[in-house]
Structures are given as structure tokens and as C-alpha cells.
């Protein structure tokens, strides 16, 4: 299940201008990710995990090196092509949920499908399915301010998963949640990963998230410090 490579990173360098100088956030990163992975980019603040996630999500471009996501070279994509990639194949989950506050739960989850121009009946079915995955069918007409943090993040997961993307990028998804909600969210994502064979890549330093990962990539000062694949036995041991 996890053998087909969907992301290839070669000699990736990312620099940000800082006045007259520049700050190098990522230094010579070489990685490959396969289909159905449940992987984490782990590291302290400033280690470059969010920068890497942004590049994988085609929200940013490499300064040097190449990044291929689902066969597309991120650095060579036009704005429109990058948007197309995100729209069709990527799902995002953010630390602060980033839900559209004036929209209902249904409308938030429906949004990616509207962009993909699905018919109303198909949208309805897909949204309800997604809400069922995360256990929020009863909150379909609620708006984000009426939901708890855990519920908001479950809506965000449903929104990321509703179009059944090949890749979901989650940036500190449990940072604003308590332990119970964190585990609930992680269990949901793990289930979806297994059932839909979607690749999940997390940027995190949360131990709760780390305990669920099947592959752990430790970043330190913009470099890959350790790339650890957890075998089932090891996972059980954990």
C-alpha cells in the first residue's frame, strides 16, 4: 500500500529574504513519500517543517532543488496549475482550523466540491458521507462559532477529506485541542488513511500525534536529522 511514490524531493533548499541577507529554512532535503503513508515532519519551532509542508502543498516554491508532487514539479507550476493541483488532489488541515465562519458546517465541507463543480445531489451525498466519517452529521447546520475546538477540527478534516484527495497535509492539527479531542481526531485521520488509502503528512511536535505516526521524519535547523519508519511490531510496542 505504501510503496508507490507520490512525492519526490531532491536537494531542496528554501531561503527567505531577510533584509539584505537571506535565511535558509530548508537545507538540502531529499525525501520520498509513498501512497497511503501516515507520516510526520517532527521538529521544534523553526526547524522548517511548516515551510516544507507549504512547498508540498504548492503554496510556496523551492529556491533550489526539485519537488515533485503527484507527478507535478512544484517549482515549475504556474499559479493556475498550482491552484488546480490543490483543488483536485490536496487537502489541508490547519492548526487553527481556518473554517469559513459565516458558513455552516455543511457549506464549509461543501466548499472544495463547489470548486470542483460537482452537481448538487453529488455534493450533498459526499458532504454527508464526510460528516459521517468524522461523526458530525448532527451539526450540519451549525456554524463554526457554535462548535467546540474538537468539532471545528473534525469539520476541517471532513473538508480536507470530502473530495478524497491523494494527499492531506496537516499543520499542527492538534495544537489547539485537549488530549481527548486530539486522540479522537487522530483516530479519525488514521481510520480515513487506512480506509481511503490517503497519504497524510503532518507537521508536528505534539507527542500525541507522534505516537500515531508510521513514519517519523525529524527535522532540525532545516535538515533531515532522522527518517524513521515504524514497523507494526514497533508500533504495537509503543
Amino acid at each position: 500500500m505504501e510503496n508507490q511514490s507520490i512525492i519526490t524531493i531532491e536537494k531542496l533548499v528554501k531561503r527567505f529574504p531577510m533584509g539584505k541577507d537571506s535565511f535558509t529554512a530548508l537545507k538540502n532535503i531529499n525525501l520520498k513519500f509513498g501512497t497511503g503513508e501516515f507520516t510526520g515532519l517532527i521538529g521544534p519551532s523553526g526547524s522548517g517543517k511548516t515551510t516544507l509542508l507549504n512547498i508540498l502543498g504548492s503554496l510556496d516554491v523551492p529556491t533550489e532543488g526539485t519537488v515533485h508532487v503527484l507527478g507535478k514539479s512544484i517549482g515549475k507550476l504556474s499559479t493556475k496549475e498550482a491552484a488546480q493541483l490543490r483543488k483536485e488532489s490536496l487537502g489541508f488541515i490547519f492548526q487553527s482550523y481556518n473554517l469559513l465562519v459565516v458558513h455552516t458546517v455543511f457549506e464549509n465541507v461543501e466548499f472544495p466540491l463547489l470548486l470542483l463543480k460537482y452537481s448538487k445531489s453529488v455534493r450533498y451525498k459526499m458532504v454527508m458521507d464526510a460528516l459521517e466519517w468524522v461523526g458530525l452529521t448532527e451539526k450540519v447546520h451549525s456554524k463554526p462559532p457554535q462548535l467546540s475546538g474538537g468539532e471545528c477540527q473534525r469539520v476541517a478534516i471532513a473538508r480536507a477529506m470530502v473530495k478524497k484527495p491523494s494527499l492531506v497535509l496537516a499543520d499542527e492539527p492538534t495544537a489547539n485541542l485537549d488530549a481527548v479531542n486530539s486522540h479522537h481526531i487522530l483516530k479519525t485521520m488514521e481510520t480515513l488513511n487506512r480506509e481511503l488509502n490517503t497519504t497524510f503528512i503532518f507537521a508536528t511536535h505534539d507527542e500525541k500525534v507522534i505516537s500515531y505516526l508510521r513514519r517519523k521524519i525529524y527535522l532540525l535547523d532545516g535538515r533531515v536529522d532522522k527518517d524513521e519508519i515504524i514497523t507494526p511490531q514497533k508500533s504495537v510496542a509503543q
Partner: protein
């Protein structure tokens, strides 16, 4: 586009009070602009209709020396009525009018007037000329309400009229006011005394002569007649058009101020929206929108204020505008002092073109004002926007 409209609508409705405040301000602009433009259209319509009914008919032939702005020309502004028009005159399609100068002495005061000889049985003007057939010892005369008010004359008043005939001999006779009409047309009323054409021709020793020949609406493309100048209705109402144009230009400044106030509110809302909703902008981009599409979304959102304002305007503006069209707007000052055809009460006239052009202009202006601040989004870094970092 459909999606942008759908999202913009959701966002606007979701924004609640802020949206409705903007919409109400903008709808106020809609209603005021349509009302004021309607008043101008109403005035234009009323002025031309009144001039047609009381002063110019469907157009005129002027004796070639006649210049209404130069009283000295009246002495020579008369000529025999052209024979080719006689059948039309007999049928009532053309009304000859002889205009000469005279002096009346109301309450012992001397007042210069134009004496207008007109056929009592004419049907082109609304002037009650049939009253000129009244049998009295004095010469029956009809005057307008503005003149009656200024000269303090009323029906039944007897006064002396002095004139100078074709041989330059002064003569005088008594006239009696048999009717007073109200027309809204100062040129038809102020210092004008109407009497029977035959009588005036006899007094002036100018049998079968006239100064103007007014025709009804029916015949267009009239031919030139030697010794007479053709004045079409468009030429005779040109002054009204120019006056309305001048007034409209003045109104445009008021419209601009109204729109400016509304647009300031929209602009402010847009700037605030982009400032406050950076995370949302980042989210749209992350979910698959291009920055251009987000600019489009925010522009549509701003523009939709105008659409909602048009709907709100219909709710409270339409009853107001229809009520105004029925009861009119009475001016607080005496309209007769304005020197042109203007009723004391103006009835606004709204055309589909007027409403449509107002809606289009306001909507386009709103679109431009919404777009200007939205351009900032195109320069945003989506990763910074996602974090809600100010850019």
C-alpha cells in the same frame, strides 16, 4: 462566476449588520438619484407639454421680422396670412396670431403688454379663447393668472388699452377681462393680453395679417413659406432642453457626493475585510482558488452591496417614488418667478431607462471601488495569509 456570486452572497449575509448598514446607505443613494432624475424628467415633460398646450403648439411659422426677445420688431412683424395655409386654418389645423404692442392702465398704472389676436374658435392652445366671443360693451380679453396676480386684475375688471395702429396713430378702447387662465408658462401669461383676432386686425388696420402661424402636432416635415420662418417644436423647446441640461449638471455634483459617501463606506468595508480576513483569503487559496479568483470573489462581494441595495431600494423606495409620482413635489418658492415653463408642483417621471442607467452606474462604480482594495490580495503571500499575518 456563479460560485463567486454564491460565496459572496453567503459572506455578505453572514457579515450581518455591517452589510446592511452599507446596503441601506447605498439604497438611499439609489432612491435619491432616481427621485431627483425623475423630477428633472418630470419637469422636462411638463415644461414641454405646457409650452405645447399654451405657447408653441406643434411648431410655428414666424413672420420673418418677428423676434420675441426684441419688442421693437413687433411693429413690422406682420404679414398677410399665406394663401396656401388658408385651408388648414379653416380646418383648425393652423392658428394665426397677430402680436402687437400696447399699454394697459390697471388701477391708473401704466403697463406695457403684448396684445395677441387669436381666433376664438381655435383648438390648438388651451387658452380659453371661446370666452373672447362674449358680447360686452368693452372688448373681451383673456389674461393669464400670473399677469392677473401681478397687475391685481380679476374677471370682470374694465381697463383702458392703448395701441398704435399700422398708420402709427395712437388709439384707445376699454377692454374687459372675461377669463383668467393658469398655464405654468410665463411667456404665455406675463404681460400678455388675448383678444379676438378679427378685432385686433380691425384695431390695427391689418386685415388678414398675422405674426405667427401655429400648427398642431399632426403634420410634420412642413415646407418653407416665403416671408415666414419655420420654427419646429424642437427649436422652440431648445431653451427648456438647455435649462434642464444645466440643472442636470448641477445635480450630477449632488449625485457624486451621494455616491462618494456610499462608496466610502464600501471602500472602507473592503479594506477592513481584506485586513481582517487574511486567514480566510489564505484558506481560499489553499483550497484551490487562485489569487485572481479571490480578488474576483472580494470584488463580487463588494459589488453585491449594490445589488442588495437595489433590492432594498425597491422595498422602501418604490412606494415612495410611486407616491411622489402621484402627489408630486411642490416647490417652496413661487415657480412663476423662474421665467420659464415650470409648474409649482413637479411630478417626477421615471422611465425604465432612468432606473436601469442609475442601477448600472451605481453597480459599476461599486464594482470599481470594490476592486481597488481587493487588488492587494493579488500581492499576498498565501503562506503568510494562512497564518493571518498582516501583509
Amino acid at each position: 462566476m456563479k460560485l463567486a456570486i454564491k460565496l459572496a452572497y453567503r459572506n455578505l449575509i453572514g457579515a450581518g449588520l455591517r452589510t446592511w448598514l452599507n446596503v441601506i446607505v447605498l439604497s438611499f443613494s439609489f432612491v435619491v438619484i432616481i427621485w431627483l432624475k425623475g423630477i428633472m424628467s418630470g419637469w422636462d415633460y411638463q415644461a414641454k407639454t405646457d409650452m405645447t398646450n399654451w405657447e408653441i403648439g406643434g411648431g410655428q411659422y414666424w413672420q420673418e421680422n418677428y423676434d420675441p426677445l426684441d419688442p421693437f420688431t413687433l411693429l413690422d412683424s406682420h404679414a398677410p396670412i399665406p394663401a396656401e395655409l388658408q385651408p388648414e386654418i379653416d380646418a383648425g389645423g393652423v392658428v394665426p396670431m397677430l402680436i402687437v404692442q400696447g399699454t394697459i392702465f390697471p388701477e391708473g398704472r401704466m403697463q406695457a403688454v403684448n396684445i395677441k389676436g387669436i381666433k376664438p374658435d381655435q383648438k390648438i392652445f388651451k387658452i380659453p379663447t371661446q370666452k373672447l366671443d362674449t358680447a360686452t360693451d368693452a372688448i373681451p380679453a383673456v389674461i393669464g393668472a400670473m399677469m392677473a396676480r401681478n397687475s391685481r386684475l380679476k374677471i370682470g375688471d374694465l381697463l383702458t388699452l392703448r395701441w398704435r395702429d399700422a398708420n402709427s396713430t395712437f388709439d384707445a378702447a376699454d377692454i374687459v377681462i372675461v377669463d383668467i387662465f393658469s398655464s405654468n408658462v410665463p411667456a404665455a401669461e406675463l404681460s400678455q393680453v388675448y383678444m379676438a383676432l378679427d378685432k385686433l386686425q380691425e384695431m390695427m388696420l391689418l386685415p388678414d395679417e398675422a405674426t405667427t402661424l401655429t400648427f398642431g402636432e399632426s403634420k410634420e416635415n412642413r415646407s418653407e413659406i416665403s416671408g415666414w420662418t419655420l420654427k419646429t417644436k424642437a427649436m422652440l423647446t431648445k431653451q427648456v432642453d438647455e435649462m434642464i441640461k444645466t440643472k442636470s449638471a448641477g445635480q450630477t455634483i449632488l449625485f457624486a457626493i451621494l455616491l462618494l459617501l456610499a462608496m466610502l463606506a464600501i471602500f472602507d468595508t473592503q479594506v477592513l475585510s481584506i485586513f481582517r480576513r487574511q486567514k480566510e483569503i489564505g484558506t481560499y487559496i489553499a483550497l484551490g482558488y487562485t489569487r485572481g479568483q479571490v480578488v474576483g470573489l472580494f470584488t463580487v462581494e463588494g459589488t453585491m452591496h449594490a445589488v442588495l441595495a437595489a433590492i432594498v431600494s425597491m422595498i422602501y423606495g418604490m412606494p415612495f417614488l410611486l407616491w411622489q409620482a402621484k402627489v408630486g413635489w411642490t416647490m417652496p418658492v413661487d415657480a412663476s418667478e423662474f421665467g420659464m415653463a415650470m409648474a409649482q408642483t413637479l411630478y417626477p417621471v421615471y422611465s425604465i431607462g432612468l432606473v436601469a442607467s442609475t442601477v448600472i452606474v451605481v453597480t459599476l462604480t461599486t464594482a470599481v471601488v470594490s476592486y481597488l482594495p481587493s487588488r492587494k490580495i493579488a500581492k499576498m503571500n498565501p503562506t503568510e495569509a494562512l497564518r493571518g499575518k498582516l501583509q
